[in-house]
């Protein structure tokens, strides 16, 4: 028996609003979801679990119809679906009155219920959010309805405001598999037993790394899972090291090479680090033109030997300036101020 576990699809999200690729991303989120269903059509699985936040906000009727049409195109796959904290069941939610295709089970209440799959010896447990927050650890105390068959829990949460999850407590529940949603980064809590599939497509600039779904097999009552990267793009953090030999051109070339190597479709946050020669003034803004770059952070510092400079200029303004900042536990702004001021004073100082 095979299943697919996905979560946090966030259909309707508009990532990186204002950036040139934003509209494409909105479409790509839908497109990737369609690709998953198309993949199931070609290579059927028995069960599809969607552990919450299928939609980014309250779903509209035409969106529910679109999703339902997709589900109905895989009639031999039992789909289990719950609402998460983003698409929770408000009083007037269109989820409430919607009629799903026969192969879809939607958990309608904020109470864990158990449904036996019509075609197999699998028991699926789940509940939907009826409020944007649930602070109680509701999954810790779930108990199996019986000993026979395979028991699978659909769960959405894992932080303080959304069904906090205790790994040890989850392990004791006895479920054969716990399909988790809410955290956007795919991660395994208990190998082959409890895992977050992560978002199908990354939806915000902090969703670094690979994204996709979890594919599982149930053989002789045992579950085996593997993560399947499936997203069209990834968000990446690029650390570009700068040294005293670097120039604006060399930094640009390094960035271009890195983007080419990792994929031009992907989206990057670039961080420049290291010690540069003091007279080099990098233009971070110019680097944004070399790819899909959300931000360029310049964390480089001029290669000054502060101790030696302080000694050399002791008793003068430069020495006092260095000492003033050295005596502090500097935050980011103060650190930058130290180097800005020092560079301005040294660069404009006449030579003796």
């Amino acid at each position: 028996m095979r299943f697919i576990h996905l979560a946090d699809v966030h259909l309707g999200a508009v990532p990186d609003r204002g950036c040139p690729w934003s509209e494409k991303r909105e479409n790509e989120i839908w497109e990737t979801f369609r690709r998953v269903i198309a993949g199931i059509r070609e290579n059927p699985v028995d069960l599809l679990f969607i552990a919450g936040d299928l939609f980014h906000r309250q779903p509209l009727p035409y969106e529910l119809n679109e999703v339902n049409n997709l589900f109905s195109s895989i009639p031999n796959t039992s789909v289990y679906l719950m609402a998460g904290d983003s698409d929770y069941l408000k009083g007037d939610s269109f989820y409430r009155e919607f009629s799903w295709a026969p192969n879809v089970t939607f958990f309608q209440e904020e109470k864990i219920t158990c449904v036996k799959d019509t075609k197999s010896d699998v028991y699926v447990y789940g509940m939907s959010y009826e409020h944007p927050k649930i602070e109680a650890p509701v999954y810790d105390s779930v108990r199996l309805a019986g000993r026979e068959g395979v028991h699978i829990l659909l769960a959405h949460g894992g932080d303080g405001s959304h069904c906090p999850v205790n790994v040890a407590a989850l392990a004791e529940t006895g479920f054969d598999y716990i399909a988790l949603g809410h955290l956007h980064t795919p991660q395994s809590l208990i190998r082959d037993v409890a895992a977050y599939s992560g978002t199908l497509e990354p939806v915000c600039s902090n969703d670094f790394g690979e994204h996709g779904y979890i594919e599982g097999r149930i053989e002789n009552g045992k579950v085996r899972t593997r993560f399947v990267p499936f997203s069209m793009r990834t968000y990446n953090q690029l650390l570009i090291n700068v040294n005293e030999g670097s120039t604006q051109l060399s930094v640009e070339d390094t960035l271009k090479d890195e983007i080419f190597r990792r994929g031009g479709l992907n989206i990057y946050r670039v961080i420049l680090q290291g010690k540069r020669k003091p007279e080099l003034f990098l233009i971070p803004e110019k680097l944004k033109s070399f790819g899909n770059i959300t931000e360029v952070l310049d964390e480089t510092r001029p290669a000054y030997d502060l101790e030696s400079l302080q000694k050399r200029y002791a008793g003068t303004l430069i020495g006092d300036y260095i000492r003033f900042f050295q005596e502090k536990n500097r935050n980011t702004v103060e650190d930058k101020a130290l180097y800005y001021g020092l560079q301005a004073l040294l660069e404009t100082r006449r030579s003796s």
Binding site: R57, F94, T316
Partner: protein, 480 residues
């Protein structure tokens, strides 16, 4: 006094002293690192020599050799006959802990480069201001500030561009919200109209209309029934008449039967006509009723459609409001440009504050000390001068004040000399350091030079005078 030395030789005197005390300059170190990397040993910069100096009542000999990766430093105390460890810290202590830059500013006095009194005056104003505010005559606080402001301007422009992009996006969202709101208002209007129409329909007037139609239908049905009965009765009378006319023999009875038959025929014709009219009326009223009912159903269906569309648009509106709010929250976080701007502002403020502190602690004393020296050197002609914060320097005399640019060149040199001597004392925290005067005097005013010479001879510090001027040489060597 060094007389007749050329420019390069003059530089060596001071540079040699400085490098011996403070080590090879950074530029030389960098060059040597470069040459070492390239394995170009023959190009390595080498410096070295021996200097004898006196510190704290003891005489020392310092021998030093610099090269690539070497700084062979030997410090020997001639009085005790002991070799000291030669590490910079020992040397530092002997130098009284002063830094290389203080040494630069306190020891070396270079000549003014201006040609005219006005140029020299401006130069003195700048030097005095910068020394008073920073302790380092080579700094250019004005240019530093300009540089920081230029960087800040760059970031502010970037921030402005970013804000414009955010504003454009917000306007887009606001327009979508407005459109949705207009649609919702339209739908509310339609809902109102439908509600009104329904209210009218179910009002007393509407109900009356329906009741009237119903009553009329019932009346028509009753009438119709009446006509049917009348027609039936007429037919019966007709049949009786026909039968009677055949059966009865007397003429009166036959006439009577004939009348009955005629009456029956007339009644049947009447009932048929009347029934046709009633049928037409019935159909008309039925149509009216059906129309009313269909209007009610249409209104109900409209209401459901409008409600459905309204709920959908309302959800879309609420979703978009959340989207707008989220976007606003995200874009209200400090941007990297704001952090950079804050850092630049902090840098400028700190430089200003520290500069002010230096002025308050030492800087303003330079003017006071220099005024005393000037008074001594000019025998009270110039009592004091003002203008150490970058403004025009004015000297006060017994009968008024005079601007520095109005002085003769020789007098300007005396003023400059006074300022540099005062700075030398105060910047070094009263430690007695030698001074190197590099062609400071041009030998025009003999009395001034003699006053300076007399003043110098009273000083506890060593004075190294470099000059190419014959007059200066004679005066300071005591031959005049």
């Amino acid at each position: 006094m060094f007389y007749g030395v050329n420019e390069a030789e003059k530089n060596i005197v001071f540079i040699f002293m400085k490098d011996m005390f403070f080590g090879m300059p950074e530029e030389g170190v960098r060059k040597n690192e470069f040459y070492t990397e390239k394995n170009a040993q023959e190009s390595v910069e080498k410096e070295g020599g021996t200097i004898w100096f006196r510190s704290g009542q003891r005489n020392y000999r310092l021998t030093r050799e610099f090269g690539a990766e070497t700084d062979d430093c030997q410090l020997f105390c001639e009085d005790t006959g002991k070799m000291l460890d030669g590490e910079n810290e020992t040397l530092e202590k002997l130098l009284g802990g002063i830094s290389e830059t203080i040494f630069d500013n306190a020891v070396l006095t270079e000549a003014l480069s201006g040609n005219s009194p006005a140029e020299m005056a401006r130069e003195i104003q700048n030097k005095l201001s910068i020394l008073s505010k920073s302790g380092d005559g080579l700094l250019d606080l004005g240019r530093s500030e300009q540089m920081l402001k230029m960087w800040r301007k760059g970031y502010l422009s970037q921030k402005e561009r970013g804000q414009k992009a955010v504003l454009r996006e917000k306007e887009k969202l606001a327009t979508e919200l407005e459109n949705l709101e207009n649609e919702l208002n339209g739908l509310r209007g339609q809902k109102g109209q439908v509600a009104q129409a329904q209210a009218r329909m179910y009002s007393a007037e509407g109900k009356e209309e329906a009741a009237v139609i119903e009553e009329q239908l019932q009346a028509i049905e009753k009438k119709n029934l009446g006509m049917v009965i009348a027609g039936a009765l007429a037919i019966i009378v007709g049949i009786v008449g026909i039968v009677g006319s055949f059966q009865l023999t007397d003429e009166m009875s036959k006439l009577g039967m004939d009348v009955c038959i005629l009456a029956a025929i007339a009644t049947v014709i009447y009932t048929l006509t009347a029934r046709r009219k009633l049928r037409m009326e019935f159909v008309k009223q039925k149509k009216k009723k059906a129309y009313l009912q269909s209007r009610q159903e249409k209104l109900k269906s409209s209401q459901e459609d409008i409600d459905g569309t309204y709920e959908e648009k309302l959800t879309a509106f609420t979703n978009l409001q959340s989207e707008y709010q989220e976007y606003e929250n995200e874009t209200s976080l400090p941007t990297s440009e704001e952090l950079e701007t804050q850092a630049l502002n902090l840098a400028m403020d700190t430089i200003g504050e520290l500069s002010r502190n230096i002025y308050l602690q030492k800087g303003r004393k330079i003017r006071i000390r220099a005024s005393r020296i000037l008074r001594e050197l000019t025998n009270g002609k110039f009592m004091e001068f003002y203008g150490d914060e970058g403004q025009r320097i004015e000297l006060s005399m017994e009968d008024g004040t005079v601007g520095v640019e109005e002085l003769e060149r020789g007098e300007i040199e005396v003023l400059y000399f006074s300022i540099r001597m005062a700075a030398s004392e105060l910047l070094a925290d009263e430690k007695i350091l030698p001074v190197v005067l590099d062609d400071v005097f041009h030998g025009k005013r003999k009395e001034s030079l003699m006053a300076i010479s007399r003043w110098m001879k009273k000083q506890p510090r060593q004075i190294i005078l470099l000059t190419k001027n014959e007059n200066v040489k004679s005066i300071f060597s005591g031959k005049q």
